[in-house]
Amino acid sequence: MKWNLATGLAALLTLTTCGPIEDPRTFVDTQAVATEQETSAEVIGYSLGSKARGEDSQALATVRAIMPGIPPATVRPDPDLYARLVLQRFRPNGATLARVLGSLQEYRLLLGGANDDFTRVPQSSFDATSLLAALTISRIVCRSLVNPNQEFDDWQSILPQPPEEVSGNLRFLASRLLGVPAATVADSKIAELQALLASDGTITREHYIVPCTALLIDAEANLL
């Protein structure tokens, strides 16, 4: 059967005259109204009927009142998405991002990623292997973020201030990589990171790779 306006209307007429209750299967002839770019309709073809409902405050209050008092468990970020999600916070999709992710592919399984058919599911906790893989990945990711060289095309450092502004840069990195408000990053944390800069003189962006790596493998960033 050719799916065109005529058969669509015929189907619609047939269906709406069928039975005492209105049939929700209203046919939408997308051919007649849509172009290739117009795919915003939520369902193409027959209607799916009514949407689900929205929030029911009263019923929700009842659910919230039940509180056996057991907190959430720690959750490890999905190892298959880990590097992509970190990079996408700072970098646009494109060839450079794809190339960096491509270079990290070989570490994905070591990090605890799933295989093709999910007979091996993503690891939900860390072991020595995945921690070492996370360390390696973090170094590569950090280079691409704080001191990208020509390998990374036109990417610029994400450091908001000149390298010598250590405290401001470290606070920025800690806030963005740990996912906490900048104001809540403790001074002691900044001092610890500063100790990792390990510079005997002029501070360059390169020096920030180590504290950045330390932040990416920090428990606060990896155990939600």
Binding site: M1, E36, A41, A59, L60, V63, G69, I70, A95
Partner: protein, 547 residues
């Protein structure tokens, strides 16, 4: 006992009342959209009301789609290796697969995109025509970018190359590229990845549009993205009949942009062989045997497991597993459930002939096809409970503890009450006081809740006791709710089971009860019936057939 458990749990877990909204927002934002909250979001979420508003905002974030797709991919466990593509190639062109029009693209030294026939690859790395003959074409996978090709290739593959299958020299680059953002594209990888994810795509698109979650099993419902549209438009290369692509669906995919990375719902109308996720290629091919398919849906959609102790001495020929001691405990349920899949072939025979109807049963309901199975599952409270359990585990990082039985019931009831709004379920969990706790516990749960029981109506609770029901008095006057469409003379019947006579009701009554229980039918229902004529009718039928 419950009180004792509660005391033990309170003793075991160091908390009570210490909420951390910032920490909860970080967790919710990361899990639901894959980012950390902005400074502004942190500053806003300083009281519970504002925290709720921030969580609500996440559902409109573009990252929500991606994380939801991943969630469903993991829950359904669907993924296929690349070589599954080959079985879909047409072999009816001179019985030779090398007629396949595949081209290889790559970047030259000046980063210009060049494409050539794959068949020429073994000869040299160059095109078969002189450079000055090459013409530019706009490639379909990255609008605005041109590739240089020989005229013969442009003629065969079209001015956007969409009529050919593309291989890219730098495979890693292609695999990690978002469609429409780089020059790199690999058809095989993109298509098999999307076909694998299709069941997850159906469920994700249902949630994004906030349709009832029961629609993930809707007969005739599928989902297509740009990569699958690219595949489906190549009838000359692929045997689309094998993946049951109807003419209607083929026509519709012409409207999907090839660079579209999101799945779109397509509903081609009732088809008794279809059941949404359960009949998607990615599900059927990933789980090749009917028993495996049945086992997986039992576990993944109903959160139930077949577990039994094997016989001490395993018989060499166990005979009928449904009856053999030691095997029957599971197989008397598993095998009739697997029978629903007999309309589809197993493994490489997936594309074989399909019998019109089979005798299958599950949870006390008889059925003949996948649509019946979908309706039985949707009519089970276990489906709602399992959806709650899965969502809870996603956000809370652990299963329900035994002392949280009431909480699971309450979430399930709320889920059903919102007409299976998965978004509202996620919102309810991410704003529940337990989620806001500042403490964290280990993910291992030593005292998990038992599997959701079968045979309960959606929303939970015991079924009311049955009185005396008479077909002529209690049922026949009401059958017009169904027989308007479910009759053998209606032009709109379209393969629907006839529900006009007493014998037809006797045969199909259980399936009718299941589908009414799920709130799918009669048309116009806004969720499972709790009261009113449809509820009364459904109960009358249930009691009459002696369920």
């Amino acid at each position: 006992m419950k009180k004792l458990l509660a005391v033990l749990v309170a003793w075991s877990f160091p908390l009570q009342g210490s909420q951390d909204l910032g920490l909860a927002l970080k967790r919710a934002t990361y899990l639901l959209v894959g980012e950390f909250p902005s400074e502004a979001a942190f500053q806003n979420a300083t009281n519970v009301e504002n925290y709720h508003a921030e969580v609500r905002r996440l559902f409109d974030h573009p990252g929500f789609y991606e994380m939801l797709l991943r969630y469903h991919e993991l829950k359904f466990g669907v993924g296929l290796p690349l070589d599954y593509m080959e079985e879909l190639l047409r072999t009816d062109i001179d019985q030779k697969q090398n007629k396949f029009a595949q081209i290889i693209c790559g970047l030259d030294q000046s980063s210009d995109l060049q494409c050539r026939w794959a068949s020429e690859d073994h000869k040299s790395n160059r095109n078969s025509c002189p450079t000055h003959w090459q013409v530019p074409v706009n490639v379909f996978w990255y609008p605005g970018v041109q590739a240089w090709v020989c005229p013969s290739l442009a003629q065969s593959c079209g001015q956007d190359l969409s009529r050919c299958f593309i291989s890219f020299e730098d495979r890693d680059l292609a695999i990690n590229s978002e469609l429409g953002t780089t020059q790199a594209f690999d058809s095989e990888f993109a298509v098999i990845k999307s076909l694998s994810k299709q069941p997850a795509g159906i469920a994700t698109a249902v949630v994004i549009a906030n349709y009832p979650y029961t629609k993930i099993l809707e007969p005739g419902l599928t989902a297509v993205d740009g990569a699958i549209a690219h595949f489906m438009r190549q009838k000359h290369h692929f045997d689309l009949d094998r993946v049951k692509v109807s003419d209607e669906l083929s026509e519709v995919v012409n409207n999907i942009a090839l660079t579209d990375t999101q799945f779109h719902l397509i509903h081609t109308g009732p088809d008794s062989h279809q059941a949404g996720v359960l009949s998607a290629f990615g599900w059927l091919r990933r789980y090749e045997k009917n028993r495996t398919r049945a086992n997986q849906l039992y576990e993944r959609l109903l959160c139930r497991k077949f577990t039994a102790e094997l016989p001490r001495v395993f018989p060499q020929d166990p005979g009928n597993l449904r009856e053999t001691p030691g095997c029957a405990a599971c197989h008397k349920v598993l095998d009739p459930l697997a029978d629903f899949y007999r309309q589809w072939g197993e493994g490489g025979q997936l594309y074989g002939q399909r019998p019109d109807g089979v005798d299958a049963s599950f949870s006390g309901h008889q059925g003949t096809n996948l649509t019946d199975l979908a309706n039985i599952i949707r009519g089970e409270n276990a489906f709602a409970t399992c959806s709650v359990q899965n969502a809870w585990q996603w956000l809370m990082g652990r299963e329900f503890h035994r002392v949280e039985a009431d909480l699971r019931t309450a979430f399930t009831s709320y889920f059903v009450q919102t007409d299976y709004s998965f978004r509202e379920l996620l919102f309810a969990i991410a704003t529940h006081p337990a989620f806001l706790e500042s403490q964290r516990v280990d993910g291992a749960v030593a005292d998990p809740l038992s599997d959701p029981p079968l045979g309960e109506a959606p929303g939970g609770g015991d079924l009311p006791e049955c009185g005396t029901v008479d077909y002529a008095t209690d049922i026949e006057p009401q059958i017009t709710m169904c027989s308007g469409c479910h009759n053998s003379t209606s032009p709109a019947r379209q393969g629907l089971t006839s529900l006009v006579t007493e014998s037809e009701w006797r045969a199909a009554g259980a399936a009718a009860v299941a589908i009414m229980n799920s709130g799918q039918m009669p048309p116009g229902q806004a969720g499972p019936p709790r009261i009113g004529p449809v509820y009364d009718f459904k109960e009358a039928v249930r009691c009459w057939i002696g369920d």
